[in-house]
């Protein structure tokens, strides 16, 4: 599709995904893989890791919205991701409030300065 922008993907619990799909970001048809993953009771870590890697490797996704508690499960892959696209944005979930100490971006920012740098 000419001039089409990038997609926003979402990985989260039922309410988070339903909400953002209501916002209009969902894509699902016969040819494409969906740009969302609903975390259910029987969703395995392997599935989450696979889906996350797929989203990272797709060139039509610009932002990945992910509940923070799910991001913790793929923290290694998340920290290893250094490209600006897609950007990963961590969001809270209903049962797990946002914890800034776990956010990858803020952890990197905290490690920016040492005592020597500020002399």
């Amino acid at each position: 599709m000419m001039g089409r922008g990038k997609l926003i993907a979402v990985m989260g619990d039922e309410d988070t995904v339903t909400g953002f799909l209501l916002g209009g970001i969902g894509e699902l048809n016969k040819n494409c893989h969906p740009n969302f993953l609903v975390m259910e009771k029987d969703t395995t870590i392997h599935e989450i890791e696979d889906t996350f890697q797929q989203f990272l490797n797709r060139d039509d996704i610009g932002i990945i919205l992910i509940n923070e508690y799910i991001a913790e499960m793929v923290r290694q892959a998340l920290d290893a991701h250094q490209h600006s696209i897609p950007t990963v944005v961590e969001i809270p979930s209903k049962k797990h409030p946002y914890d800034a100490t776990k956010d990858s971006i803020l952890r990197r920012a905290r490690g920016m300065f040492t005592a020597e740098d500020l002399r």
């Binding site: 089409r4 909400g19 209009g24 969902g26 894509e27 699902l28 932002i63 809270p92």
Partner: protein, 209 residues
């Protein structure tokens, strides 16, 4: 300033028009001072970006929480199983998408835009002449693609107001998420610039490092 000229510093300086010739160490000091000023400016910008990021995050978290509450109200009105993955359409097209632009090298900025925008329907005669009221009229097919279906329709024709409120909250959340993503990229970019400048400074002033 001429007293600062080192008798051994006979090498020509980069700026040959400096009074007294200038010493090599002066040039290095000036370069280091410039670098330090640039570092300070970059550091202040980074701290400002971090503060802005924290503010936007708080607003995004608030919007998402509002959205959950509205979804819960909609579920209460429509039934527990009436608002969830069972109602997702089998075919979805995105109503909003992301426009990514590169402000500087390696620095991406995002903006959420509506996709599938089609030209407004033209009402009225296409020509200035009188319309023919008799006879079959051919309605031209809209040239642009069909607009994506509103996800609210997945949940029924008449949906409660709380579901519309949930949609509005999450739509606001999407714009905030794009701003946060842009800020995160700017912070990462600033970090790499900072490291580069610190390395250059270490090369100029190895003793200080």
């Amino acid at each position: 300033m001429e007293d600062l000229v080192c008798p051994l510093a006979v090498l020509p300086t980069a700026g040959g028009d400096r009074e007294g010739g200038g010493s090599r160490s002066d040039c290095v000091s000036m370069a280091a001072l410039d670098l330090r000023a640039e570092l300070d400016s970059l550091l202040l910008q980074l701290l400002g970006d971090l503060e802005e990021l924290e503010g936007k995050r708080a607003v995004l978290n608030a919007r998402v929480e509002e959205g959950w509450l509205s979804l819960a109200k909609a579920r209460y009105a429509m039934g527990t199983k009436s608002v969830g993955p069972l109602q997702y359409a089998s075919h979805m097209e995105p109503q909003v998408c992301l426009q990514a632009s590169e402000a500087q090298e390696g620095l991406q900025k995002f903006e959420v835009v509506r996709s599938g925008v089609h030209a407004p329907e033209e009402v009225g005669p296409r020509e200035a002449a009188l319309r023919r009221r008799k006879g079959p009229t051919k309605t031209p097919e809209p040239q642009s693609s069909e607009a994506p279906r509103d996800p609210l329709n997945w949940f029924g024709i008449l949906v409660p107001h709380s579901l519309r409120q949930a949609q509005a909250s999450f739509r606001d959340g999407l714009h905030l998420a794009a701003d946060i993503a842009s800020l995160q990229n700017r912070i990462d970019w600033g970090r790499s610039q900072l490291r580069g400048l610190q390395e250059k400074l270490k090369q100029l002033e190895p003793g200080a490092a």
